[in-house]
Amino acid sequence: MIRRPGAAALPAFFALTVAFFCVFAPRFATARTFEDLLAGYSFVAIVAMGQALPILLRGIDLSVGAIVALAGMVAFDLSLIAHLPGWAVLLLALAAATLAGAINGLLIVGLRLQPFIATLATLAAYRGVVFAISGRQRMPELSTTPLDDPWIVSLDTSFDIGGALGLSDALALPGIPLSFVVTLAILLILQLVLSCTRVGQALMAVGGNAEAARLAGIGVSRHVVLAYTLSGLCAGIAGLLLVARLTTATESLGNGLELTAIAAAVIGGVSLRGGAGSFWGPVLGAFLLGVVLMGLTLYGISQFVQQILTGAILLAAVAHARWFAQHRVGPAAAAPG
């Protein structure tokens, strides 16, 4: 891995924030809070990791929230209307999300659309598809039926590490939700792919300088499509986890999630100018947002102030990154004349 100044700032800030709320926010330092945090923000972290890929390639994926809803609604329909077995429901829902992501990539590469415009269009289109296929609209009687397929329900399990280690008498450890384990698994896979494989190197190269990558013989289009496809897949996984937690799917599932995911990725140090970033950053960024929101809620601060603070964190993260970009050693930061 490459040495980079300022990389330790985010973990340090995260630790400080957690410590601050542990000391000052009532009932923050409890197993219950951490359980809620892990269960409530793992899916954000997963979407943020997916979002990091288009951003790494100098693009953006505005359609992830709609893809979350799409995966959820496909699962809802297939399970409650088509009565497919749970494993098939999960696979098909993920396939739908992956396809939606791939369509984003193909539109951007094939029609040479700006990623912002292409995914803004598909954001509307996928949300429309969700309404069109919504089992809740077609069979209103189903809207109160919970998803009870064992495969889907099992996504909402939680591991009692305290009990497993026989420590539950001594101290109250938070239960680890499956969604967090999935987050860690995705993080491990994506980070390994990014830093240890040719594909990862090519993604970084295409994001850093597409022309240089092309001249080095790297297939640019292929990797752009791959990035959006994986972003769709991540949104699909997050959608299924969310549906399992809510035991139902709604048309408005994941509304506005794209903005949270972009914020988490940017806070996590993924450069909007492409070619720089990691996957652990967005995960940390997502949980940082979660810690701040939950901490402030417990502290008794109003929802509006929380939004202002979220914005402030985003600004601080970007300003911090710019500061390091401008104060790097050597004249290389200046454009060659």
């Binding site: 490459i2 040495r3 240890c196 190269a205 001249l215 080095a216 013989g217 004249p331 200046a334």
Partner: protein, 505 residues
């Protein structure tokens, strides 16, 4: 020419819009040959190199590698066939490590594309040792000085063990010692049978390292000879051509203008910007056209931008009519009567989807207003005046700028600045991509303003242009002024020699 050459282009052509940059051209290099490719700016050298490297697709023609026809416009296919290229502009990824950059696109890998960094590091260390270069393989490339970055670009090509090596201005950023070392490397590669194409403006380098030379002019090959058959003077003549030689004479016959007696309108002394330019100084008098010329990368644009206040300078002074100024923004510079016509008219100069009239008065909007209201009749009147003065075609103020030809767009941009009646007007490459007729009209407009007492500073790489309009000439190389002289005291061959001047550190 033999078809079994390591690389061979046959009748390749390239046209951008209406401009043919490469006429049907044949070109080839033999194994163990170092062939120089020379010509002035815009002669088509870089285009030919890019076609050979697969970076661009020619409109017609074919490229053969080792006797077999190669797919066009596919860099990967050329790399696979052992054709590597060092491009003039950086192709490094600043955020990635030196190691990753060196082997980008063909990094050593085990199964499933799993990078074998240890093996690659060993190879890289051997490569560095072989070429006696010291580099930290793990540092990000963006933090390195430009010279080191250029070394990495060269090593990147050497790492391929290519059979054909294309080098487009490889020595632009290297010190004398580094150039000598590069030439040593080139001789080593030649001995092992690599075919090398070496593009350079620096004729000393061409004579030092090349066996044969191909001269290009206006998109055509005009000469092809062993280097030993040519003298330096003959080579320069071939590069610049007869037409310019005649123009040079015409300029030389122009009576020398009286040496300006008055104090300079703009005086720049010891202007420095860390890592960009150093100790740049010149005087610009009222009623004078001063041209700053040099190669791309000589940092001329940067000097203009520093004076104009859109960039900073670290040391030195700018005096306007004897008063010291340091503009913090273009707005301030304009308020003091200093204008800058930028090089990129699309990005920085014109509002393409607005009419000609609006573009012409954009910088002087206030003058055409009564209170908050724009006075249409006066705008139209002013626009018609400029349209006539600059001979804009078609002469229609309501025409959208994007519908005009490049030359007419450039005239609109010039008119916009002239309407400000600046006391000092700076122009950066004022006729790039402009046809001959429009060029002449732009020159006429500049001469007219000069005779009305405007002080005009032109940055230009086009030597023909410099000789046609300059009263005095400043030559810059590598961020320094290497020569200042009156236009009638110099010649194009002399300027070409100055371009390659080795600046003492």
């Amino acid at each position: 020419m033999d078809d079994a050459l390591p690389i061979r282009a046959r009748a390749v052509t390239k046209t951008y819009g209406t401009q043919t940059v490469l006429q049907p051209t044949d070109f080839g290099v033999a194994a163990g040959e170092v062939r120089a490719l020379v010509g002035s700016n815009g002669a088509g050298k870089s285009t030919l190199m890019k076609i050979l490297a697969g970076a661009i697709v020619p409109d017609a023609g074919e490229v053969r590698v080792g006797g077999a026809s190669a797919p066009l416009g596919k860099p990967i296919e050329m790399l696979r066939r052992g054709v590597a290229c060092i491009y003039q502009h950086s192709n490094l990824l600043p955020e990635m490590s030196v190691l990753d950059n060196l082997y980008l696109g063909h990094f050593a890998a085990r199964r499933f594309g799993w990078l074998d960094r240890r093996r690659q590091r060993e190879q890289a260390q051997a490569l560095l040792a072989r070429h006696r270069v010291e580099l930290d393989l793990d540092g990000p490339v963006g933090n390195l000085p430009t010279v080191k970055q250029k070394q990495i670009e060269i090593l990147k090509a050497l790492a391929l063990d290519a059979r054909v090596l294309l080098m487009d201005e490889p020595t632009g950023w290297l010190s004398v010692a580094d150039v000598a070392r590069l030439h040593e490397t080139i001789r080593g590669l030649r001995a092992s049978g690599v075919a090398i194409v070496y593009t350079s403006h620096i004729l000393d380098d061409v004579f030092a390292v090349c066996d044969t030379v191909t001269v290009m002019r206006d998109g055509q090959v005009v000469a092809d000879a062993p280097i030993s058959a040519l003298t330096r003077e003959r080579l320069i003549e071939l590069m610049v051509g007869d037409t310019i030689a005649r123009q040079v004479e015409a300029v030389a016959q122009r009576p020398a203008p009286a040496a300006p007696q008055d104090a300079p309108r703009l005086r720049v002394t010891g202007l420095c910007r860390q890592g960009v330019f150093r100790h740049v100084g010149f005087d610009l008098h009222a009623g004078e056209i001063l041209c700053i010329t040099g190669l791309v990368g000589a940092k001329r644009t940067e000097v203009l931008q520093a004076i104009f206040g859109c960039d900073r300078f670290d040391a030195g002074a700018v005096e306007l009519d004897g008063r010291r100024v340091a503009f913090k923004s273009p707005r301030e510079a304009i308020a003091h009567g200093v204008g800058l016509v930028t090089e990129d008219r699309h990005r920085e100069g014109l509002l393409l989807n607005l009419p000609v009239a609006e573009n012409l008065i954009l910088a002087t909007l206030r003058r055409y207003c009564r209170g908050p209201l724009l006075q249409g009749a006066r705008v139209r009147e002013a626009a018609l005046r400029w349209i006539a003065a600059l001979n804009l075609r078609p002469p229609e103020p309501a025409m959208l700028v994007q519908a005009l030809s490049g030359g007419n767009q450039q005239k609109v941009l010039l008119g916009k600045w002239l309407d400000l009646r600046p006391r000092v007007l700076m122009l950066d490459e004022p006729t790039v991509g402009v046809d001959v007729g429009a060029k002449a009209e732009i020159y006429a407009a500049l001469r007219a303003e000069r005779s009305r007492g405007m002080a005009i500073l032109v940055v230009s790489s086009d030597l023909e242009e410099v000789m046609a309009i300059a009263d005095r000439i400043v030559v810059m190389a590598e961020g320094r002024v290497v020569r200042t002289c009156a236009a009638h005291d110099t010649s194009i061959p002399q300027l070409v020699r100055d371009f390659g001047a080795v600046v003492p550190a």
